[in-house]
């Protein structure tokens, strides 16, 4: 269900962090070795090298923080998407309640909303197509519509706020 993080960019990101981490280890050990060689006296050359290593560390920290922010944001989006789809489901269910559909009719109406054909619904429910057509007639009669399009626009009207929720 969860939309995956794009593979290519995540691989690139991990590779980038790994290479930078490797460079940091290299620079820091180099600075340390040179510092010892210089007899513990920091030269301007060493200072600049140390600064380069330090800023690289800071850059990685920013990168990681940015990555975590992205991950968190993605999580929040998923949550709101989850809530939104639940709200859509609620609207549809409340219409079905309102129309006093029987359990079998609810089932068929659910498939109908998902865009399945009569033949598909019949196959899924193990009914004859005639049975499904009978259910469909009952659904249209109870909802005061005459076809699938009208029934769907009733639901959509409520979702976009053109009609008060049932």
């Amino acid at each position: 269900m969860r939309p995956p993080i794009p593979t290519k960019s995540s691989a690139a990101l991990i590779a980038l962090v790994a290479v930078q981490a490797f460079c940091i280890v290299f620079f820091l050990s180099d600075v340390f070795a040179d510092f010892q060689e210089a007899g513990g006296k920091p030269t301007s050359h060493l200072l600049i090298e140390a600064m380069a290593a330090l800023t690289l560390i800071i850059a990685i920290l920013f990168e990681l923080r940015y990555m975590l922010t992205l991950i968190r944001r993605k999580e929040r989006l998923e949550q709101s998407l989850d809530q939104a789809s639940r709200a859509v489901f609620d609207v549809i269910e409340s219409h079905f309640d309102d129309w006093r559909l029987s359990p079998a009719e609810r089932d068929v109406a659910g498939f109908l909303v998902k865009g399945m054909s009569i033949a598909e619904i019949a196959q899924l429910r193990g009914n004859a197509e005639g049975t499904i057509k009978a259910h469909l007639n009952a659904i249209y009669r109870k909802s005061g519509t005459t076809n699938r399009g009208e029934m769907l626009s009733l639901l959509i009207d409520t979702l976009i706020g053109a009609r008060p929720s049932a």
Binding site: P4, S10, A11, V25, F26, R72, E75
Partner: protein, 193 residues
Amino acid sequence: MKTAMNGTMDDRVTSVRPPARKRTRVWDPLVRLFHWSLVSCFAANALFVDGENDLHLVFGYTIIGLVGFRLLWGFVGGQYARFKSFPPSAQDALEQGADMVSGRVHIHVGHTPLGALMIYNLLLTLSVIGLSGYLMTTDMFWGVEWPEEVHKIAVDWAEVSVVLHIAAVIFESYRTKVNLPRAMVTGYKDLPE
């Protein structure tokens, strides 16, 4: 709250009992032997035995042998030892990162995705260390500097990786409530049902 009102000691003990756990065999004996032999040899060479000492070469060749064995075992070994069971996947690794950030716990029976990346990193780094170390002993590279440079850099990187590996194992054990160091000793993980 209910136990506090009933007030008996027994109730309280029952209420804090951890959820049921399933002992699952994960690491075969050779994987464990490999792991701890590698730990010993690497620690010996990195911390105690310097390059001038003949023992350094003995441990070094042992490590090369161990890495060679692990590469082979990755194809013919036990279920969770095989590379097939922990393919490198950036997406799964980030997913695990997201779990760590958001506090979600997703139990991995074998290696975790980030753990898998660390294994490939260590195997590669140890190979570089072994190869560059071997080159330093050959007549062909007598007096040539770069094998030693490579050797030193790779060792630095390996040491940082090991520290990160240990930190991650401790953190993940604490977070997922599965004792990972013990699993590498006994071979079993106590996984939640």
